[in-house]
């Protein structure tokens, strides 16, 4: 740590100045230690719970509307997003997120939460400039990289022949 004394007369001061490197080391030593194991356990429990709720919604669609597991996927995601937006509106989802970390961020509910909270937060700037242009601030990268990846993969299959794709369609 670089110290320089700006002493004058009997009274001397020691202003502490740190380089940014020293500051980083200083801040890191005082950062509250977060256990990776605890975080992973929390993420597992909350993430697993959200998916279990999703499974319940999916079973509901399969039983009531006689859908296959794959057909039920879409309406299930829509319901999960609706639930997430409701919880975000009540300020509950962000409380869960503080505890759960990736457990609430990785499911689609986290994607919806990022959009809803950005929309609500920027409402005061207007519907077009606030809500419209900020909604995808966080969710945008997911869509951009997902679409670009899907496009690249699509082109590869187009060039080399779709026959190599083994997934079940429909």
């Amino acid at each position: 740590m670089a110290e320089k004394s700006a002493g004058r007369g009997t009274k001397s001061y020691k202003p502490v100045s740190m380089s940014s490197k020293e500051y980083q080391a200083f801040a890191k030593a005082r950062e509250p230690s977060r256990s990776v194991w605890t975080n992973c356990l929390k993420a597992f429990l909350v993430g697993g719970l959200i998916c279990t709720i999703g499974q319940g919604v999916q079973q509901f669609f399969m039983a009531v509307f006689d859908m296959s597991a794959r057909e039920a996927g879409n309406p299930t995601v829509a319901i999960m997003i609706l639930l997430s937006v409701i919880l975000t509106s009540m300020g509950v989802y962000d409380k869960i997120a503080q505890w759960a970390g990736a457990g609430s961020a990785v499911p689609v509910t986290g994607f919806a939460n990022s959009m809803a909270s950005a929309a609500i937060e920027h409402r005061s700037e207007g519907l077009v400039l606030g809500v419209g242009s900020n909604m995808f601030k966080l969710a945008g990268s997911v869509i951009v990289f997902g679409v670009v990846a899907a496009f690249v993969i699509g082109i590869i299959f187009w060039v080399f022949g779709i026959g190599a794709w083994h997934a079940t369609t429909g």
């Binding site: 597992f44 309406p75 937006v85 083994h166």
Partner: protein
């Protein structure tokens, strides 16, 4: 009962992968999500995501990796039906429900909810 157990285990495991990317590799949430989406897309290209959906149900369809899987699924399904242009027209074929729902509900929420804090 078993579908719920596997949904919990597989869904939880994918979230743990996300948490490790936060804590160990120190990625930002945006980088983590983008990586997971691309991972889901690549898995579907190899035909690995469908078996996971069969096995884990919502444990595979609810995490964001499923979004990448659905984008590729739409593009490739349309590619088989209408040819090359299908790559462009099919990308949002399957994911329309999720993206539309998120936009619509978020917009409505912004109309009625006052921000907290």
């Amino acid at each position: 009962m078993m579908p719920y157990v596997w949904a919990f285990v597989v869904g939880g495991a994918i979230c743990v992968i996300g948490q490790l990317m936060f804590d160990v590799i120190k990625l930002t949430p945006a980088h983590t999500m983008a990586t997971l989406v691309v991972a889901g897309a690549v898995m579907d290209a190899f035909g690995w995501y469908d078996p996971l959906v069969e096995f884990a149900g919502a444990g595979a369809t609810v995490p964001i990796t499923s979004f990448g899987n659905s984008l590729v699924h739409g593009a490739l399904t349309e590619l088989t039906q209408v040819g090359g242009i299908g790559v462009i027209t099919g990308i949002f074929h399957v994911t329309s429900a999720g993206v539309s729902a998120a936009i619509i509900f978020s917009f409505l929420a912004a109309l009625v909810v006052r921000p907290k804090g």
